[in-house]
């Protein structure tokens, strides 16, 4: 039932894409396209919710498309339903936001046709029930998002971003193609059902895992495959950035879960070590990169890398427990990972919407030119603050709950028998703790420099609050962040069918716990109640305000701030994004980025200002990508002579190639 419904929504989205193509240059196209996308996403969201929470068995549908002997299979099981909720919630919000935000789009004809197509692509990936449909939808999703990254194609940076994205996306699809080919085996059983029943040997399984990590990891942004992400996500219009960061990375996580935890069968413990190590490194490197940025959208994009790391830590733990048949702990770890998927889709979209609002109001993405926006845009500032608190994993909002569950899962792991895991997991725990603390620093910087202090440019000083559509969207997501934080039991219980389907067990029912606490194992071991924490803080803060204003003083005077005796300090004397991050850059950056500071002091008598330049090196790019790109370039240069030959030489080349191929075939057979 829900599969058919969502397929209809996908059809509507594709029709909207066609309408967008035909009418892109008309003013009426924007409300039509975004309005249609909004309605389709909301209906699909309802269908997905029904698929997850309704007790109905998984529903499927087959369309006579694709390979003639196969057709295109679609199916909504609990896992797909959960990810469809994430996709369509994000899509609905982005469409609503775009109703207002899209008004400022300088080139609507480059956005409108591809936006609904992108939404349709993401839905199709999650719906797909055979490898062929999956790969085709995956590539469709990649290409439509690539077109959106290229929307502002006159900016040189964006062209480079899109180029890197295209290469990485093709690489990722190639890896997934190989993974599915190995899973399908020699018979070419491309349906997921057939792959599930067919057990792969250990070598094949290890290869499939590697290819899945490379393919899905490159789309999700696992270090060292993340390089395209902070380039491409900020280049797109902000509502698309929100979708790419908040939702598309989750579709990649879905791909990984589907292949590794569902199709491949029971994992081996050695694989979980790879996933855990990659997750830990990704989370810390992602947040350190984010801290070094002063472009608001790029900071957010790098921070997505961190959150993907946290999700993969959860998945790695689930695999480790599953390999040892500790299913209840696997259920805990997997719930934590999926909860974080949901949370991240909420607050990362919210923050990208906020950065889009800032971009609309000021035309600036560079934090060094912003500041003081809390006075000019109080509502945007409030929602952005909620997003910042949530993403920094602070109670009582939702980011804390999923990280708390991940920590609880880590604490269940000393009983695992393998020594490798015993040594690795505490280290990963430390990395997770480190990344949580650095995330708070990162978002103090992001909010503090952008919204607090005094404006650093006329654009920031004259900013105006954004339109109602954008504000409604942001407030809705801020409210969801709070709700998921104070009523986490709802989400955990909602995830139960997904988790049961993958690891065969579930976390205890949470809504039955008194006072709506969450108790992962037993109350004597750990419990958390976000609702009460929220109520206590609100109550005691109100009590303090009331008591002090009633019984002590309520007088207030305005005066200039303390200036150390140097009046009229200009706004450039404030702390900037660069100076805020300087202590952390000095502590961590000197090893991770080989950060160097050069101070250039003009000699006495010279009136030039002193300059401080910071040099950061991206070691991942330098050690992996630059050599590969260099080699490809060099080989291409060498082979260039083949391009300008006479017809005789071409013919002899073709014949030679044919003979070599026949020889190879003859020897092999």
């Amino acid at each position: 039932m829900s599969a058919t419904l969502i397929l209809w929504c996908v059809g509507v989205l594709l029709a909207a894409a066609a309408i967008g193509t035909a009418t892109a240059r008309l003013a009426a196209a924007r409300p039509i396209v975004y309005g249609t996308s909004l309605v389709a996403s909301v209906v699909a969201l309802a269908g997905a919710l029904d698929g997850l929470l309704g007790a109905a068995p998984p529903s499927g549908a087959t369309l006579p498309l694709g390979l003639p002997w196969l057709g295109a299979h679609f199916r909504v099981d609990p896992l797909a339903a959960f990810f469809l909720i994430v996709v369509n919630l994000g899509s609905a919000a982005a469409s609503l936001y775009a109703l207002g935000y899209g008004r400022h789009e300088p080139a609507p004809h480059r956005v409108l046709p591809f936006f609904p197509a992108f939404l349709a692509g993401m839905n199709l990936v999650v719906l797909a029930d055979d490898a062929f449909t999956f790969l085709l939808s995956w590539e469709f999703m990649s290409l439509s998002s690539w077109a959106l990254v290229m929307a502002h194609h006159r900016v040189r940076e964006n062209v480079r971003a899109a180029y890197v994205y295209l290469i990485m996306a093709s690489f990722g699809t190639l890896c997934l193609l190989l993974a599915f080919a190995l899973l399908a085996g020699v018979d070419g059983a491309y349906g997921f059902e057939a792959m599930r029943t067919h057990q792969a040997g250990p070598t094949i399984a290890a290869l499939v895992l590697t290819f899945a990590l490379l393919g899905a990891g490159s789309k999700a942004g696992l270090v060292p495959l993340h390089v395209w992400l902070p380039l491409a996500h900020p280049a797109a219009p902000s509502h698309v950035s929100a979708l790419m960061s908040g939702v598309m990375t989750k579709v990649a996580v879905y791909g990984f879960i589907r292949i590794v935890l569902d199709l491949l069968g029971t994992p081996e413990w050695g694989w979980s070590m790879v996933v855990l190590a990659l997750g830990g490194i990704t989370s810390v490197l992602g947040v350190l990169y984010a801290l070094m940025q002063h472009d608001l959208k790029r900071l957010l994009a790098y921070h997505t890398v961190e959150n993907i790391g946290i999700i993969f830590i959860g998945l790695g733990l689930a695999m480790a427990f599953q390999a040892n048949q500790v299913t209840w702990a696997a259920a805990l770890a997997l719930t934590a990972a999926l909860f974080h998927v949901f949370n991240h889709s909420l607050f990362k979209s919210l923050l990208f919407f906020g950065s889009g609002a800032v971009l609309t109001a000021t035309g600036e993405r560079d934090m060094e030119h912003l500041g003081g926006l809390i006075h000019r845009m109080p509502l945007t500032a409030f929602t952005f603050l909620v997003g910042c608190v949530a993403i920094s994993a602070l109670p009582p909002l939702n980011g804390f709950v999923s990280e708390w569950l991940t920590f609880q899962a880590i604490l269940q792991s000393p009983d695992l028998p393998q020594w490798g895991l015993k040594i690795l997991i505490p280290g990963v725990g430390a990395l997770l703790a480190l990344s949580a603390a650095l995330a708070a620093a990162c978002f103090v910087k992001a909010f503090g420099v952008t919204f607090l202090g005094r404006p650093r440019s006329p654009a920031a000083a004259n900013a105006r609050e954004v339109d109602r559509f954008s504000l409604v969207t942001m407030f809705a997501f801020a409210a969801l962040c709070l709700l998921a934080g104070i009523l986490p039991g709802l989400v955990i219980d909602g995830l139960a069918p997904v988790v049961r389907g993958l690891v065969g067990d579930r976390m205890p029912v949470q809504l039955a716990v008194p006072w709506l606490s969450i108790v992962p194992i037993a109350e004597a071991r750990s419990s958390y109640n976000g609702l009460l924490i929220f109520l206590f803080i609100s109550f005691s803060a109100s009590l303090a305000v009331y008591a002090i204003h009633r019984f002590a003083s309520r007088a207030l005077r305005r005066a200039p701030p303390w200036d150390c005796g140097f009046p009229d300090a200009r706004p450039i004397t404030q702390y900037t994004a660069g100076s805020f991050a300087q202590p952390i850059r000095r502590v961590f950056g000197t090893t991770v980025f080989l950060a160097r500071e050069h101070v250039e002091m003009a000699p006495p008598g010279d009136r030039r200002p002193a300059r401080l330049t910071v040099e950061l090196r991206d070691l991942v790019w330098e050690t992996i990508y630059a050599p590969v790109a260099g080699t490809v370039d060099a080989i291409a240069g060498r082979l260039n002579i083949l391009q300008f030959q006479t017809i005789r030489r071409y013919l002899s080349l073709v014949v030679a190639a044919l003979i070599v191929l026949l020889l190879v075939l003859a020897i092999w057979l």
Binding site: G371, I374, A381, L385, V389, S392, A393, L394, P395, F400, W404, L411, I425, P426, G429, A430, A436, A437, L438, A440, A441, V444, G448, L452, G453, R454, E523, R525, S526, S527, Y528, L532, I533, F536, I537, S540, A541, A544, V545, I548, A552, S553, L556, R557, R558, A559, P560, P561, W562, C564, A569, P571, T573, Q574, Y575, S579, F580, A581, P583, V587
Partner: protein, 310 residues
């Protein structure tokens, strides 16, 4: 009913005792330096005086700046009332485990750092930036310490941890020793004490905590000062409830309270002694100091992952 009384008692107790502990530490410090020192109840007088004064607000301070003191105070108060002081049978002790309490203090710091950036002067910025650098090492350190304790006690609930620590079978463990040292280092850093920060400094460039709150005055400052005292009390109570849980479980409330007062006095005196004996370190030596706490926590956890008996 008994649990409710304990919870209510604790709620008021921590609020009333916190300035006293601060005053006591100051007094002991003064005496160690051969000074007379202010009266032990001076912090109460300071609070009363600040509460009566007008707030002088910087011209471009926003609503966040005015809201932050109350949020900071409320979150610290909630956290402090969830750490068992004189009895473990708190009504709401299941509301937040040790990880959540640590994270609540993280929320406090988040808003304090934002408040430091709000007015847009360099001192607020320097304070916030350094505070977040210190936190970026102190928070993982405390989480690793929590991990070690949780592995020993098989629980992250503070009441359960104290019960387990009181039982005979825990004994002396290497991991617990490491964790105690680590927790003391973190407590010193989190409470902005020497050698990490100096609570009595009047030179802006050396401040961390004081720099962030430089623009606060009147009732706002009073609330923040009270929150800082509460945080000190919280850490002393935390160390006491984990490592010297005597008188906490099952004892009479009177005995528990007496034991608690003694613990606070001993903790405060040791803090004063330590502060008198050390000099403040340069800001960029702090990461090494806190890195040691992080490594101690990690080592403790690793030992327990290797063997439950260590």
């Amino acid at each position: 009913m008994h649990d409710l009384a304990v919870q209510g008692g604790q709620l008021l107790l921590v609020l009333l005792m916190a300035p006293l502990l601060t005053g006591f530490v100051r007094k002991v410090k003064a005496r160690l330096l051969q000074r007379q020192g202010a009266s032990i109840i001076q912090p109460y007088r300071d609070l009363a005086r600040l509460l009566q004064k007008d707030v002088v607000l910087a011209d471009n301070a926003s609503w966040l700046f005015r809201l932050a003191p109350y949020l900071i105070f409320a979150a610290t108060w909630v956290a402090a009332s969830l750490v068992p002081t004189f009895a473990t049978s708190l009504l709401f002790n299941w509301t937040a485990d040790l990880i959540a309490i640590a994270a609540l203090l993280g929320s406090v710091r988040f808003f304090l750092a934002l408040a430091g950036l709000d007015v847009g002067t360099s001192f607020g910025g320097i304070g916030s930036s350094r505070e977040m650098m210190i936190a970026s090492l102190a928070e993982p350190a405390i989480l690793m310490i929590v991990f070690t304790l949780a592995l020993v006690a098989k629980s992250t609930q503070l009441s359960t941890i104290s019960e387990v620590m009181l039982s005979a079978h825990v004994g002396l463990r290497i991991s617990l020793g490491l964790v105690l040292v680590g927790l003391i280092i973190v407590a010193i850093a989190e409470n902005a004490r020497i050698p990490v920060d100096n609570p009595a400094t009047h030179l802006e460039l050396t401040m961390v905590h004081e720099a962030m709150i430089l623009e606060y005055s009147g009732r706002h400052l009073a609330v923040i000062e009270l929150a800082a005292s509460l945080k000190l009390l919280l850490y002393v109570s935390l160390i006491a409830c984990i490592f010297v849980p005597w008188g906490l479980v099952g004892a009479e409330a009177g005995l528990g309270s007496a034991a608690y007062v003694v613990k606070l006095a001993v903790g405060g005196a040791m803090l004063a002694l330590f502060e008198t004996l050390t000099a403040k370190m340069r800001v960029f030596r702090v990461p090494v100091f806190l890195g040691a706490a992080l490594m101690l926590g990690l080592l403790g956890t690793l030992l327990l992952f290797v063997s439950r008996g260590l």
